[in-house]
Amino acid sequence: MDPNKITHHQFIILVMLFTIGSNILDAPFVITNVANQSGWLAGILGWGVGILLVWLYSTVAQQFPKQTFIEYSQAVLGKALGNALNLFYVIYYFFLSSVMVGLIISFLNLQILPRTPMEVIGISFLLIAITGVHYGLGVIGRSAEIFFPWISTFLCLMFILLLPQINLSHLTPILDGGVRPIFRAAFTFLGLPFLELPIFLMIIPYVDNQKHIKKCFLLGTLLGGLVLVSTIFLCILVLGAQLTSLNQYPSYQLGKEISIGNFIQRIEVMVAIIWILTIFYKLSICLFVTSHGLSKLLHLKEQRSVLLPLILIISVITRIISPNQSFYDQFIRYYWAPASLPIGLGIPLLLLIVGRLRKKSIAL
């Protein structure tokens, strides 16, 4: 049995966890920083455009069922151009996995484990993720299925327990800065989860039920986007735009605000479990695609031969790419979405158009 096989239920869960991923931590403050209290409108707009993008990706994937991105981009675009794009694709997800490790390190180091060396947090996190990738996508999918009820319960609990803290006056004045900040914030939000989703072009061929792939992909993104948008909405409603945009981890601050009758309080670590888990799955998927893509690209016999050296490289690249928090913030705010455009829009469109034109000459 192929260790990488996953069912379509697991696929929905993986898409959802990937979409929530790290963005539940950094999307609220990035968006409210640009669009202030109208950030939730930007969230809904970005979500809508993101769904359209996912429709594009699943159309590309349906053109070539049974083949991964690395294989069909070579077939469609020729060996030289295809391989160049594949290398770009692998490097992009390599950097995304380093960013994930960096994010979990800075979060745990600032909020929960202040005196633990950063390397220890990073390497232990990487080791667990690498173990999952070593056993195959099937194991990642099944464990995601186990943790999914936990994540959804904690999310619902957080949303319900926060209801008493809501202050509707935080929403006014609506659209005081005009519509331009909304478009800007929506574009930034697009880059945070949705333009990263072509990662699933590598995973779709391993899903068992190919007929419903489009529906599953759309449903996963819809649910993940719903969680993100409602988190942004709650951040603005509970904390206000000012406090959200100044806070490094506004959704963690949300957990601290929970107080039911002065009795249920300070349960933010329970809330933190949500994103420790979602970032873990995002990291695992990124690592799987990086190592799997690299082994497909270089025609390696086994995927595991690149896994262990990757720990060594990623653990130091993580430290190099985020020398300080402000550099990282500025990068995701202004450069991540434009840098993701080639992966998220350019390559899928190119594959779709050229694939349609050359459909007859490529025997798939």
Binding site: F95, R180, F183, R184, F187, L294, L298, H299, L300, K301, E302, R304, S305, V306, L308, P309, L310, I311, L312, I313, S315, V316, I317, R319, I320, I321, P323, F327, F331, Y334, Y335, P338, A339, L341
Partner: protein, 75 residues
């Protein structure tokens, strides 16, 4: 001290993987594995001995700056 830890962990990785790769006779895998391991080892040694390594994100920033400025002015 830190150099010791880095070299020991790198050789541990080699010790785990190389016999397996030789057993299954995967030549390309062995080459890629050794190159990646060497790259990781050198990068770690340089970083933890205080050598300044240029940030790859600065390069990405430089490349996407025109696009980013144009897009955010447009929106």
């Amino acid at each position: 001290m830190i150099n010791c830890i880095i070299v020991i962990s790198a050789s541990l990785i080699g010790y785990i993987e190389i016999p397996h790769l030789i057993k299954v006779k995967a030549k390309m895998d062995l080459i890629v594995f050794s190159l990646l391991l060497l790259f990781g080892l050198i990068l770690n040694l340089l970083y933890y001995n205080g050598v300044h390594i240029p940030n790859p994100l600065d390069f990405i920033k430089f490349l996407t700056k025109p696009l980013s400025e144009w897009l955010y002015r447009l929106l």
